[in-house]
Amino acid sequence: MSGRAARQLLVPGILVGAIIVIALIVPLLPLPDPIRMEVSARLLPPSAMHPLGQDEYGRDVLSRVLWGARTSLVVASLAAASAAIAGTLLGLLGGYFRGFVELLTVRSAEIILCFPPILLALLVVTLAGPGAGTLVIALSFLYLPGFVRVCFAETLAVRTLDYVTAQEALGAHPGRILMRTILPNVAPSLLVQLSLTVASALVLESGLSFLGLGVVPPAPSWGLMIRGARSTMEQAPWLLLWPCLALAGAVIALNLLCDRLRDVFDPRTRSLGWLARATIALLPRSAPPAEKPSLMQVAGLTVELDTPTGTVPLVRDISLTLAPGETLAIVGESGSGKTLTALALLGLLPPSVRLTGGVLLFRARGGRVQDLARLSEPELRRLQGDEIAMVFQDAGSSLNPVHRVGKQVAEAIRAHRPAAWSAAMARAVSLLREVGLPDAEQRVRSFPHELSGGQRQRVMIAAAVANNPRLLIADEPTTALDVTIQAQVLALFATLKTRAEGLGLIFVTHNLAVVSEIAERICVMYAGEIVEEGMAGEVLSQPRHPYTAALIASVPEGGGRLVAIPGGVPLPSALPHGCSFAPRCPRASAECSAAPPPLARIAAGRASRCIKWRELT
């Protein structure tokens, strides 16, 4: 357990520990008898002898509160413990053997869940009469299914793991596997369930005692004390306060412990402290660059990740230009920063990742040039989806599952044009027909899950081109699709380009085969930098960077030998000194690691970040 986890558990651990210690040692404390009555001292306010006062029978309230902790905790823990033992056993057996055993154990325990909990307890009380013993029995029944379910689910998950299968194959006895292998793995969830149950049992026990159907008077119990104080709350409201505080405090402490235990054992549920704002950093106004772009010009784009220990650069000093009607492919392995570059252009970086430098000039329809990095959120929003649109990698998760696809396309139109829903829907149908969705009139009423992967991607594309954008950014739009569908979607992009004159396309992909089909120019990215750029044909036939060459060699084409690139992209937090590709490069020498190589202009529109580009043929 880490230090952080230990710190998180410290406060609730101490609180719960203190309550347990009090419950254990209360008989040893020099307290007045909690059930000795003194009718003449009825409802006396706090005094030196009785620091919390005396109740309606003159009994000492402090003593009753502390003894009450003992009663409540004993009932709650006994009930929780017996439910835990029986429930764990049933859950383990059901989860391990499945089939008929599951029916006997798990499913039959779940019948209890048909009843609201307190009613079942009351049914038991009617039959057996009130009392602490009845309470323990009733509560253990109630909490049994909770343990059975948790243990069953965890057992199912654990038993398919390799090491359990291996033990079975080695002929280990099921009992041994259950106790030695599965139980320790299930234990954390059971611990959380146990503390949840104790808290819940405490509430239910005091509730039943409050109704007069739980612990029998004159035994001290918090629920009974509240019941008693209720009748005298006009004269002695403080009598109500002490047991209420004790009960609420104990439950708060236990619940806090549960929450923290869950955080420690299951970090996924820990709440994330981030905002869902568009995180476009407000960069200082910079001097406008000399040349105005015909469509888009990016200079010095830098994206950094905020970490507790400082910022880590993810994308460094990217410069791109794009003319109307041109297609630029950004190519690289996963982790090269190509997707972040694309997201940064549209101001869609995830939280905690920030644009920290660069000028993103974009020429809008009217001819006005704006710097996307320095627009306010509403200004940027007017461009998003209207002049600049984006198609994402996974159409399955990028379409909202609860809305019909036609509505999602129409919504994109209505975000930028005042149009009635009916008009927007009609336009959506024709758009869907244009992107080749079969049976578009019917399919507008489909939900995303009713469409195939290729059809969903067509819907995404339809929504992206709905407002005739000037720039379309496609982030791996074919990666999640089957090969045959990939070809169709690529063909669709080609059609779109011919149909919409002047549409600039930025195509982000790791697939060089795709690039050769669609792109006029290529930008190869590695470890957050551009390592090579140039016209597609030239770069693919005559790479001037070893990384590009290696990428080309790893494409299965023409029956040649497939060469994988050894190693992986370096972590942004641990970039090598000098050339970041050097550790994986077959041509690397000492000078490669000496200093970070600059992006060398090697011909018109052609650049390479390799100092040995002349040696590459």
């Binding site: 039959l127 409050f210 439950v251």
Partner: protein, 317 residues
């Protein structure tokens, strides 16, 4: 959708039958003579004559299958038996009190949703901020304090000290509508507090999760206004798990109703139930338990159907 609804209704019907059977079996499966058990008080053996009389009253002397058949036919005709003490029909008393319990639950649920949903959404949109911390802390405490404590303290503060509302009781809507809602406010508010905390927590974590989904980013990429994204894309999806969790908490909601009705002297099913348990009037207890459990099943059915309305993927499952 229709097929899904029919299947859920059938499952609910089977559950009701299982519950009825369990309630029937509960008394007959306990070890020993149930009549003796019901009459025994603190370990003193009851008088054999009264045991025989009770056995006769409960119909325990006929064969069990015959008892079961007459019990089920009775149920189908709305006959829940009669009180052991005064032979008053249980069904009549329940018919009188059930609407009041339902009103309390509905008012509490409305209040809880009205506060929990917006607060949870706000906390998620401003996660980590001051509003989030205050709301989350409050919800954590609200979740931990037992309803009867909240109710009792509320009476002390609002009825006895401030004298804003009556301490409890019931005024029929027809007699005095204003007074009716004034009396309803405290018990409904008490139940709503814990439920609102549950809804708040679930909404907050669910909205946080949905905010990170790809389709929210895609909606932003289309330039859709933030308010529309939150309402139509985030909340619409975030509600699905919220509905599930509320469904899981229905049991404790109904349990809380029992205690709250008792605290505020609300003449619903609970006061009747508590008195019946105190007097160990078995037919009365089983009748009320049966009715509340069926209510529980019906509310769960409602949640299941709502779930299908919210999530189109469920309708085909």
């Amino acid at each position: 959708m229709l097929a899904y609804a029919i299947r859920r209704v059938c499952i609910a019907a089977v559950l009701v039958w299982i519950i009825a059977t369990l309630v029937f079996l509960a008394i007959r499966l306990v070890p020993g003579d149930p009549a003796e058990l019901l009459l025994s008080q603190g370990g003193i053996a009851p008088d054999p004559a009264s045991v025989a009389e009770l056995r006769d009253k409960l119909g325990l002397d006929v064969p069990i299958l015959q008892q079961y058949v007459s019990y089920l036919t009775g149920l189908l005709h709305g006959n829940l038996g009669a009180s052991l003490l005064d032979d008053h029909p249980v069904a009549a008393e329940i018919a009188l009190r059930l609407p009041r319990t339902l009103e309390l639950i509905a008012a509490a649920a409305l209040l809880a949703i009205a506060f929990g949903l917006p607060a949870g959404t706000l906390a998620a949109l401003r996660a980590g901020g001051a509003a989030d911390r205050v709301l989350s802390g409050t919800a954590g405490i609200a979740l931990s304090i037992p309803v009867f404590v909240v109710g009792t303290i509320a009476i002390l503060v609002f009825a006895q000290k401030l004298r804003w509302v009556p301490a409890g009781g019931y005024v029929p809507l027809g007699r005095d509508p204003l007074q009716h809602f004034l009396v309803l406010a405290m018990p409904a508010g008490t139940i709503a507090l814990g439920l609102a905390a549950v809804i708040f927590r679930m909404t907050r974590s669910s909205v946080l999760e949905v905010l990170g989904r790809d389709y929210v980013r895609a909606a932003r990429a289309r330039g859709i206004a933030p308010a529309r994204i939150v309402l139509h894309h985030v909340l619409r999806n975030a509600l699905i798990p919220v509905v599930t969790v509320v469904g899981l908490h229905l049991g404790s909601l109904l349990g809380g109703t029992v205690l709250v009705e008792y605290v505020f002297n609300w003449p619903g099913l609970s006061g009747y139930l508590v008195r019946a348990v105190e007097q160990r009037d078995y037919p009365e207890v089983t009748g009320i338990v049966l009715v509340i459990s069926i209510l529980f099943v019906l509310l769960n059915l409602l949640v299941d159907l709502l779930y299908a309305v919210l999530d189109p993927r469920v309708r085909h499952a």
